[in-house]
Symmetry: C2
Subunit: 413 residues, 2 copies
Amino acid sequence: MSAASDAAAAAGRYRPPSADRPRTITVLGATGSIGRNTLALVAERPELYRVEALTAQRNAAALAALARTHRARLAVVADPAAYRELAEALAGSGVEAAAGEAALLEAAARPAEWVMAGIVGMAGLAPTLAALERGAVVAIANKEPLVSAGPLVLETARRSGAVLLPVDSEHNAIFQALADNPIAAVERLVLTASGGPFRTWSLERMAAATPEQAVAHPNWSMGAKISVDSATMMNKGLEIIEAQRLFGVADETIEVVVHPQSIVHSLVAFTDGSFLAQLGAPDMRIPIAHALGWPGRLATGAPRLDLVAVGRLDFEPPDPARFPALELARRALRRGGAAPTILNAANEVAVAAFLARRIGFLDIVRTVESVLESLPDAPVGSLEAVTAFDREARRVAHALVEGGPPAGRRKER
Amino acid sequence: MSAASDAAAAAGRYRPPSADRPRTITVLGATGSIGRNTLALVAERPELYRVEALTAQRNAAALAALARTHRARLAVVADPAAYRELAEALAGSGVEAAAGEAALLEAAARPAEWVMAGIVGMAGLAPTLAALERGAVVAIANKEPLVSAGPLVLETARRSGAVLLPVDSEHNAIFQALADNPIAAVERLVLTASGGPFRTWSLERMAAATPEQAVAHPNWSMGAKISVDSATMMNKGLEIIEAQRLFGVADETIEVVVHPQSIVHSLVAFTDGSFLAQLGAPDMRIPIAHALGWPGRLATGAPRLDLVAVGRLDFEPPDPARFPALELARRALRRGGAAPTILNAANEVAVAAFLARRIGFLDIVRTVESVLESLPDAPVGSLEAVTAFDREARRVAHALVEGGPPAGRRKER
């Protein structure tokens, strides 16, 4: 059973938020980009939401300010060292303050109908699972739960009846385009990719690319890690895995098309020849608004697409020679088990090494490939197994990048 | 209440056709382009359909062949003079033969769950109403019922619980993009227009355009009348009216964007900033397949869109100075009552006069405008009222075009 077909079936069980019956929400990662955009939309329609819990890694001052503004019941910093600052900032506010890993899990486990899983990296996995375990509607904004722990996340959601709403713009587009169509009516999923800053660069030029060049994304405003993933197109490789998890289709059904303007966020091709696509300005508030309003639509002030002003949309095939991350991610998906966990972990280490100028741009994907080849397979059916494989892949990747690029592979192919 | 919201609510009452429970269908206008494409799709999956009745204007030989192939129960020619030929061609086949207007209405009234209303022109109105009166699912492929008799058609469908499925590619696209979203969540409907063969022509060049130049449509294979409507963009004007009828939105909510490649068939903009669009190869089998499979999807061999092969999609604003038909249609829609009936009837006469080289290309819309200005308003709540206004508008238009272009307006503005 796929998360998407679950959600279609579940839509009938849920009502959109209304002033008569506000939706109780929790935002995990409230001070990050996704969290702030979520709360900005909530602030546009405060009568529709009641905030249960907000969490942050360590930015106590920002978290306290958001918790006061949104009258949250609970605010949690993951880092215990930030507890005192949070407690002091919330004194007299009526907002409960807490800190540490256990408090973070408790925040996720509190009875909010809707949870934004907006914590970056593997740190988001355990709280996301805690929200899924109690059957919440979980808006998934980070890739790690589905890429590194896909089978575990899906099995947890299936057991509890939780609903997964994808917030990544591509998967949100597919989710919207699917609407109430059964997965059996899907012929192909077409993930669009901007192509990143090196879309038109030669392999020779890419070999000499600097971190500054790699983080200059043409359309989206994103963090350094994700920008580099966009430059290697590993981002799209991870999204192939994410799409396979979410929608339960065969790997070869998922196609990638380069679309430099980032206006068509993805498409679904149906068995009758119709394609449905979601389009919009490249702004994360749009997919977040969809998740906040689901199964209805939330009227927001998010920027509107002006097709005539955009004027032109282009589509081209991705180049497998310059962007080998796409095929590497497909290989990890086909191998299954721990392979996607290893892919994701090794990529994080390799990107950090590139940003620290310890390896070249083309070495990122080579490092990931080497780690993937050097580690064995195994199922990852528990949080402990996922964490162990993640740690081991990081260890091997660190050893590789600290010893320089993988031996014997410095030359261009 | 709008037809689209009716259909969304009705989807739960219907099941897609299946081999266990084949869908009984009737095709009005079986020998035309829409009818033939419908039956070609039915022939791909004969186990899903049982053909009740097929009708044609006068092509008895073609109708008899289709009726035999599809084992129809009844075949009707509207023209009584063709009855003998039909009866002879069907002798021994077990298919009942009939002819004349009453037989045509009886064919539409027979208990088929699904009816394709594919009869061109005003002749299709009465049989379409007959199918709607008994609460059928009616796939509407001709513009006349909704443009000329919109309120009557909608009221008939509302009373009986009939479902209208639009087959025009633009309205079918909007219907698909709406999916299960409520009309209240719609911010805008964006109808795409190819711009026709004169998209880039100057007004001076358009004034001298010949019928041969006007019927050379860049993307779709269509009849001469519709091709000329595409060249004047009256086609899109009629579609604005049709969309207002089908989806119950305000006139100013409906936008027209020129999209020369005819790949994005139309879009819906929602209140949360998301746009949903239907795309596909420009082939009528795709929207027909959607209607045949609704509320499911029919797997067909219709041509597939290859976005990478298309490569580029353009969008530009329509030019109101060169294409005044758009604003004229909006005026008729706002005026309401008989104005859309008059617009449609006068346009048919003016296009025929242009094709017969009696008036110039730019005189088409001028003629329609003159007829619209010279006739009074009135409600059109009955078939008789619609027919009377249609006839009167044709009479006035004939008088105008036979006297040459409207007096005093021969010069370019």
